[in-house]
């Protein structure tokens, strides 16, 4: 399967350690994050992360499911770039 750039949009609770957990989940599998943007949303207790990763669809599917399992992750969506 071909690797393509996937853009993950994560809405997470704005708490310390959340970014590290999410980035760790991706980098721990040996995938390189190409772009990472983190910023507040209108609701100050929620942050939005936009993460671009080069990986296969299958890997991204797994990563999304595992991200959704995280205690501080509210929502994850993705699209191929």
């Amino acid at each position: 399967m071909n690797e393509t750039i996937h853009r993950l949009n994560c809405y997470v609770e704005n708490k310390p350690g959340v970014l590290a957990r999410i980035v760790g989940l991706i980098s721990g599998r040996g995938y390189n994050i190409q772009t990472l943007n983190v910023g507040p949303t209108e609701d100050g207790t929620v942050s939005r992360m936009r993460i671009d990763v080069l990986a296969t669809d299958k890997v991204i599917e797994q990563v999304i499911l595992q991200l959704r399992n995280q205690v501080n992750v509210i929502e994850v969506t993705s699209r191929r770039m």
Binding site: E13, P16, G24, L65, Q66, N69, Q70, V71, N72
Partner: protein, 577 residues
Amino acid sequence: MNKNEKRTGAKALVESLEKAGTEVLFGYPGGTVLDIFNCLPEAKFQFVLGRHEQGSAHMADGYARATGKPGVCLVTSGPGATNTITGLATANVDGIPMVVITGQVPLSLIGTDAFQEADTTGIARGVSKHCFLVKSADEIPETVAEAFYIATHGKPGPVVIDIPKNCQQALTSAQYPERVSLRAYHPESTATTAQINRLAKLINEAKRPVLYAGGGVIAAGAAKDLAALAHRAHIPVATTLMGLGSFDEHDELALGLSGMHGSAASNWAIHESDLIIALGVRFSDRVTAKISEYAKRAKLVHVDCDPASINKNVHADLGIVADVKDVLTTVLSRIKQSDHTEWLHHIAEWKRLKPMTYKPLHKEVIMPQSVIEAIDKATKGEAILVTDVGQHQMWAAQYFRHNRPRHFLSSGGMGTMGFGIPAAIGAAFARPEASVVAVCGDGGAQMTFEEVVVAVEHKLPVTFVVINNECLGMVRQWQELFYSKRYAGSILSPKGRCKNERLEDDLDYGYLPDFTKLAEAHGAKAYRVIDPAKLEATIKKAVASRKTSLVEVIVEPRANVYPMIPGGKSVTEMVFG
């Protein structure tokens, strides 16, 4: 306590642990948890001092595996915390609920390379379900409640709470919450009616169905429901290592262990099956062998509480994210009484042709497999059997007739050597009336032997059986089969172990301690067995004594674990030795 009355964060922590239902706290003191230890004499739970933080973590794990309740562990910062990492990883991959509290240097010193400072949440993140770093005493009660909630909801797992020393000393009036509500974590999920109907239809129409049960069946408390479905629909049951005990192996529908060292009947049934109903499993590489060949004739139904485990390793034709017990109870009424006599005849033939068996290599030398059979007989199959990791673990899986849940405790996913001794102690605290037998190899026993003294101190009726084959058996077996018999680093004593002589001239080959003397030095009663005729009686005597005891069994060192599916091969290439 008056609602506005203040007490220290440490006192609030102990109160919160009591409210969370803690009965036993395992741990080890140190500088950054002294305020918490100062509150322990008044605590309503028992504190158990391990002798190494890894031991304390595995004790909490063993307690959790034996009961289903979270094991709780308290250690200091820095090395105390890092020593629990193996314990966290072991519990994490097997889905065992634990709450581990670590001390941390005061907030003002974090990041200064303070004495015994380590970035505990940073280090533990990858091997735990969740980590908390507490920032004020006011957060402590709520954090404890959330930690217990997270540890036990969804796929269970270990949760770390890192508490800086100044937060333990600060005063707070914060109360333990009545209920926990987490904004982003809602793991509960139920099967839809359509999924249940489809599952029922698949089961009712299958010709060669197999139920495939894992640790999730035990975690969900669904063993009785599994048996009910198996009997009504007349379906044989294969189990994973973590699933052993979820189905009584005395039952004619039992296929036993599946996977790399599983029974021929179990692996071949899955290979020939037209419907696999996988319950609470994660399709580990140790089970599927060559993934492209796994169960390729079958429709596969996968029921699990963890959405990330479905379609992870194998494709599921029907994936159901739900509690296994709920699914089993709901589907049962839609299942027709079936008769799969022909399919079961076929399986019985495999069982007859390739039973789980071994041949003695020498009639005066004990075969390691017979040690497990002797434990089964000596305890009438009622023991809580705890294992370490290696050959003996596989023999314990193969040759004990597992018959009830939470009675086979073993490090499955992580394969942690050193797990057996402390986990058995944790199980003995959880089930004081039970007979706990820990089976260890001579390698793993040396990794955590210091914990034996804890069993002695608390007069626990644990029998440690050290199967001594003078080598790191599983490593030796792989070197024999796949590395041209070059036994680098795996031979612990070259010869003479049968009489347990100390060989002055052979020290460069390695040296094993005298396990009986080691046990006696720790205050345990010790036995050594060399004669096959005395094996069962000695184990019986040790278990019946209800005292902490160790039985060192000198066994045939060349014995290998069979059957075996070599790495990367499929079930059709099973090796029988």
